[in-house]
Structure formats: C-alpha cells, structure tokens
Symmetry: C2
Subunit: 209 residues, 2 copies
DNA sequence: TCCGAAATTATACACTTGATTAATTACTGC
DNA sequence: GCAGTAATTAATCAAGTGTATAATTTCGGA
C-alpha cells in the first residue's frame, strides 16, 4: 500500500489554496458544507494538513472571510479609478452593481458569513472592519464631490447622505446579485447612477462615469 | 427511576412552540446552534418528539423560516394602516426602519437563514415567496401614491422606482438593525422618509405619516 | 549523493449530530 | 372509574465532525 504522492508548497501558497477552497465550498455548499474534509479535498490535500497552517477550523473560516471582504472592497475601489471625485464616485457605483462585485457567488458567500456575525465575536470583528472601510470610502467620496461642486456640506450632512447612499448601494447590490428580477433587461448602472444623483441633489444628466 | 412528567398539547401549539424554540436558537446561537437537542430543550420537550411534528429537521427549519418571514411582512404591513396611499407608504417606511422589524434579533435570524438560500432549494423557495410579497406591496403602494397625486406613471416607471425604493429600505433596515452607527442620535424615520420622498420626486415637507 | 528537517499523509479518537424504536405516560370517550 | 389510544420519553444507532498523532515522504543543503 503506497501513499499518495505530494509536493511541498510555500506557506503563502498553501494558505491561499486552503482559503480559496474554503470560499468555493461555502459558495457551493453553504457554511455547513465547508467541512475540513471538503475543503481539504478541494485544495487537493489531506484534512490533517489544515491544522499545520491554521490553528483550528475557526481560524481558517475567519481568514477566508477576511480575504473575501478585502477582495470585495478592493474590487469596488478599483472601479473608482482616477480623476475628479464625481467620476470616482460614479465608478464606485458602477462597480458595486456589476460583476464581479454584484453576482450570485459573491452574494452566497457574503450571506453565509453574515449569518455567523451575531453569534461569533471573531467574525463580528472581521465584519465590522470591512463594513466600516466601505462606509468611510463612500463618505469621503461624497464629501469630495460636494467640495468639488463648490457646495461644501457640513460633516453631519455628509454623514447622513453617506448612510443613505450606502444603504441604497447595499440594497441594490443584494437585489441584483440575488437575480430575482430580470435585471438583464434593465440598465442597472443607469438606475443606480440616477438614483444616487437624485439623492445627492445632483442633476442626473450631469452624473456619469 | 421515574420518567419526567409531561402534558399533551395540540398539534398547533406544539408546532408553534417548536418553531419559536427554533427561531430563538437561531437568533442566539446561529443556525449551527439550532440542533435538534437545543430546540427540544428550549421547547421543554424531548428531542424525539420533534420527529412526530416535523418529518425531519430540514422541514422544521423551513417551517421556522416561513413563519419568520410572514410575521416580518405582517409587521411591516401593519404599519400601513388605513387612509391615503401616501400615508400608508409612509407608515410602511416607518415600520421598516423601527422595531420590531428593524432590530438586532430580527437581523440575526434573517442573516442566518439567508445564508442557506443559495445551497438549499427549499429555503430558496420560501425566500422567493416572501421577498416577492414585500416587493409587490411596495410597488403597489408607489403606483397608488402617483395615481393619488394626479401624476400616474407607466408600469415600467413604477417598477423601476419600486426596485430602487425597495433597495433603499432593505439597506437602511440592515444598517439600522446592525447597529454599527449611533442611530440613537439620528432620526432614522425622518431620514428614511426624506430620502424616499426625494427618490419619488415628492416634496419631503409634503411626505409625513 | 545522501542526510536531516520539515511538510504531508494516514489513521484513529472522542464527540456531536439527526434519526429510529420500544417503553411509558397522559388524556379521551365510554 | 376504566380501558384504549395517541403523545411523549428514554435509550440507542450509525454517520459525520474537528482534532490529535505517528508514520512517511519530499527536498534543500552538506
């Protein structure tokens, strides 16, 4: 009886592979389906190996959540690009309502993790960080847009508008990713841009990316 | 060795108790914590009994999800009350961003269940029904509001506005329920009403409940 | 080329889970 | 009051879980 062959990998590669396998498992089978054995199988590895790179399964799942969220925010942030604040905000909105940010797989993973936040302090902390990062990004952009238009607003006003815009983007993201409606016939980007302009008191015709 | 005493209950009462115990378990311990034993304990009953009222655990969880969603929609709908459409819409919005609809426990349960929707067809169907019911309610109210104001809109226009308003309400509901911000200092109802009015092209001063 | 350290596998363990079944109890109709 | 029925308990089972550990293999450095 011969053992299966294997080849060594660096710590970074193995951790990445294990995290990727975890996210795949969560996306397809839900959090309950992301067992140690399932993850190991998808990573082409033996269950016992996981414990060499992560103290326990809880750490692995938390690490997966952390990279998932930071990748998600990075993808949205990448949509901002360069240029005037208004263009960057429009880019962020476009990125938020189109793939790969807005898509079924992303929503599935997000949903699975979000369900653990309330009863798991570690996951709650990971969530809080990521959420705040996105919220701060939106708030900062709104402030810059107003300043750019020569109509600077109070910090409180900007804060409230950030709350509302953030809520709208979250909601649209969920709706679109869920795919309940037939969004293929709707120009979701246009809808998102128009409603954002309306909420911010900007002429929609003046708000494009 | 004497057995523990018990008393019989009607099928309806036992089912309600078991569903309530399931929702309590999910709210406090997450879906993973809602084991057959935990639910039975909270219902003051023995694990084996569950199988007399629900074919299996999957059915119990699905039933719990169904009553949770229909109760949630009923609570929101109750905020509508009577009167002109604009008042009813304002009532729905108020109800959506205040307790008991918007609160931590409700969000926890929602989040836990939503995570199963993608990988569990039964849960997906339960979700779809409830989601559509709320969306239809919002869309119908918007249509009535426009008709009432003497500015009837096309079905497509109403549909798009419903998508946006629904997204805003979902997002606000999540933000508020999550409690990340210090919403106690903010008048969330006023914020929600104002942004809704803005999105619908109504004078905010003219939109109260 | 070969040795030693480190990575990986294989196996096993203790525990929890959902499910099953027989024994017991409470209640209903007579 | 009593018998029969149906609800409930108690005890058990097999499967799956995360974890621990010893045996094996790989691979870089002498």
């Amino acid at each position: 009886m011969t053992r299966r062959t294997f080849h060594r990998e660096t710590e970074a590669v193995r951790q990445n592979d294990l995290i990727a396998a975890t996210l795949d498992s969560v996306a397809e089978l839900g959090l309950a389906g992301a067992t140690v054995r399932e993850v190991a199988f998808r990573a082409g590895v033996t269950p016992g190996l996981i414990r060499r790179y992560f103290d326990n399964k809880e750490r692995l799942v938390a690490a997966a959540y952390r990279t998932f969220i930071s990748d998600l925010i990075a993808a949205a942030e990448a949509g901002c690009g360069e240029g005037p604040a208004q263009t960057r905000l429009a880019g962020l909105i476009r990125a938020s309502v189109t793939a790969p940010v807005a898509d079924g797989r992303t929503l599935s993973i997000w949903a699975a993790f979000i369900g653990t936040v309330h009863s798991d302090p570690v996951m709650a902390e990971v969530h809080r960080e990521g959420y705040q990062a996105f919220r701060d990004l939106v708030e900062r952009l709104i402030g810059e847009v107003f300043a750019e238009r020569g109509t600077p607003a109070s910090a409180q006003d900007i804060h409230q508008r950030a709350i509302v815009l953030n809520a709208l983007l979250d909601g649209l993201w969920i709706e679109i990713s869920m795919g309940g409606d037939d969004f293929s016939r709707l120009n979701v980007v246009q809808i998102a841009l128009n409603s954002t302009a309306t909420l911010l008191g900007i002429d929609p015709a003046d708000f494009k990316d």
